[in-house]
């Protein structure tokens, strides 16, 4: 069953506010984690979890479910927010992020957290796993789709491109790759550290159907997901999302140093207030 398939754009925007609040709250409690990339991916993650993906929180291992691969595993707080809000895990568990025994490990652990389809955390590896899931879906004649979220920085890893060529060879039209193109990585801008050139053109050159959209426009995200939903043309899809790292919290936006730092008490209060106002 597809949950909340008719969620409106306005409802999704409200959910995105809850998602962002939950993510910064858990990172604040843990005093550790990655807020910048969690916030840049928040709108896409909201659309996927609250509208697009065919999933059942009561049956996380349902074999016909859509799969989600968080290849940029360090932004798991935003995925955990979705899982907590949907009831995969009791909401209070958000306060155990990165603690001993928590389902919410520092990076996603499929053995500890229901709703995680593959453990990630080492960059560059997730897309290959998604390709394996999508091949299995095709061979088993299942209708499920596989959604993989990549970071822009991790596209510097060669394995991403090994996986991309395989997705095209095996005609995985059941695979959708998203790149969260927030332009920052730990040591600086992607342009400074290792220029990515035109990611959309790169995926297109590998044989993907591509589109580049504003990753903070819920309208554009939903419209794009609507467009590709029923595609059975034998071509994998890649959506490059232009995003802002830290989006929704003014002092974090486009600031490299908010990659992996937790807000203090005052910063949290300001963040929650700003997020509550919605995206500008």
């Amino acid at each position: 069953m597809r949950i909340l398939i008719n969620t409106s754009i306005e409802e999704l925007k409200e959910k995105a506010i809850e998602m962002r609040k939950t993510a910064v709250t858990m990172i604040h409690k843990a005093q550790s984690g990655h807020p910048g990339g969690s916030l840049s991916a928040a709108d896409l993650m909201t659309a996927l979890y609250f509208k697009e993906m065919n999933i059942d929180p009561k049956n996380p291992t349902w074999e016909d479910r859509d799969r989600f691969v968080l290849s940029k595993g360090h932004v798991c707080p935003i995925q955990y927010s979705a899982l907590a809000l949907l009831g995969y895990v009791p909401y209070e568990k958000i306060y155990t992020l990165r603690e001993y025994g928590s389902p919410f490990q520092g990076h996603p652990d499929m053995k500890k957290c229901p709703g995680i389809d593959i453990s990630t955390g080492s960059l560059g590896q997730g897309l290959s796993c998604g390709v394996g899931m999508a091949i299995a879906g095709k061979r088993d004649k299942k209708d499920y789709r596989v959604f993989a979220l990549l970071g822009d920085g991790e596209c510097q890893e060669g394995q991403i491109w090994e996986a991309a060529q395989t997705a095209v060879k095996y005609q995985l039209d059941n695979l959708v790759v998203f790149v969260d193109y927030n332009r920052l990585q730990i040591d600086g801008t992607c342009e400074e550290v290792m220029p990515l050139q035109d990611l959309e053109k790169k995926f297109a050159a590998f044989g993907f159907e591509t589109k580049r959209i504003n990753g903070h426009s819920m309208e554009q995200i939903v419209e794009t997901l609507d467009e590709i939903r029923d595609s059975k043309n034998g071509i994998p899809k890649c959506i490059v999302l232009d995003t802002v790292k830290g989006k929704g919290v003014s002092y974090m936006e486009d600031v490299v140093d908010w990659h992996g730092v937790a807000p203090n008490d005052e910063e949290l209060q300001q963040a929650l207030e700003e997020i509550a106002g919605g995206l500008k």
Binding site: S122, S128, M133, T166
Partner: protein
Amino acid sequence: MSIMEKTLDIKKATRAAFGDEILKLGKENKDIYVVDADIAKSCKTINFAKELPDQHINVGIAEQNAAGIAAGLATTGKIPFVSTYAVFGSLRMAEQIRQEACYPMLNVKIACSHGGLTPANDGGSHQAIEDMGVYRSMPNMTVIMGSDYYSTRKLVEQAAKIYGPVYLRFTRGDIPVIYDENEEFTIGKAKKLNEGKDLAIIANGDTVHLALEATRLLEKEGVSVKLLDMHTIKPIDREAVLECLEVGRLITVEDHNILNGLGSAVCEVAAEEGKGKVRRIGVQDQFGESAPYEKLLELNGITVENIINTANELLI
């Protein structure tokens, strides 16, 4: 006829055992997959690829990707065997296997030809002397090398049956057939080839037939030798090693660096027990080069003669 008397004149590569067994398993179970990285012909999975194309994936020369795809397949209930050469299967994809197979305890098998010095004339770049040690260090991993065609087939069959990551290593070249077709093997349980009380020899893989020949010669000289085929080095059959420690004098023989392989695993047990005197025969922590396989074994002292000499030193 007991194995002690059996002639060792029939020879077969254990990579062929993998190719034959995986085809049989694939026909019996449609969840068995092979993920190749271009070298299906050499790894003997080519018949699987031809006969079972819906259970076969060839990712090209991209081993890291092969590992990840196998993990993705495993999450859907498939039993993927990643097939490549041991150097690439252990080192090129080591971190992918750690992250995506061992850490999440997924049912991924890594099945590698060209173990140890067996790709002899390919040179040092292709001789995997560290592979079993690499995988022995990873939690949840089982590490196996069969000693002949039939034992390898049985161990591949068992690897498909147990849940969790398994590393299997095969020979490129032909090695003597030691066992009968119907001999049974259990992962994690050493195969006892001879009972003895003066000395114990523990070997695995392509060195077992050398240890067997050495045992026969020593027995002729009146030395009573206990001989084990330790096809599984992780989990090590501790009980079997303890029996050898009771004998007191131990020699380990392996076509692998003497660091981190069979010899190390046995020494760990010996040190913990504070018993036994162990001598390790294996690759002497040095890279190989292009040469005949027998020459490379000789350069490292992995020979019948050296096993006997080492035995005599221990027996003084």
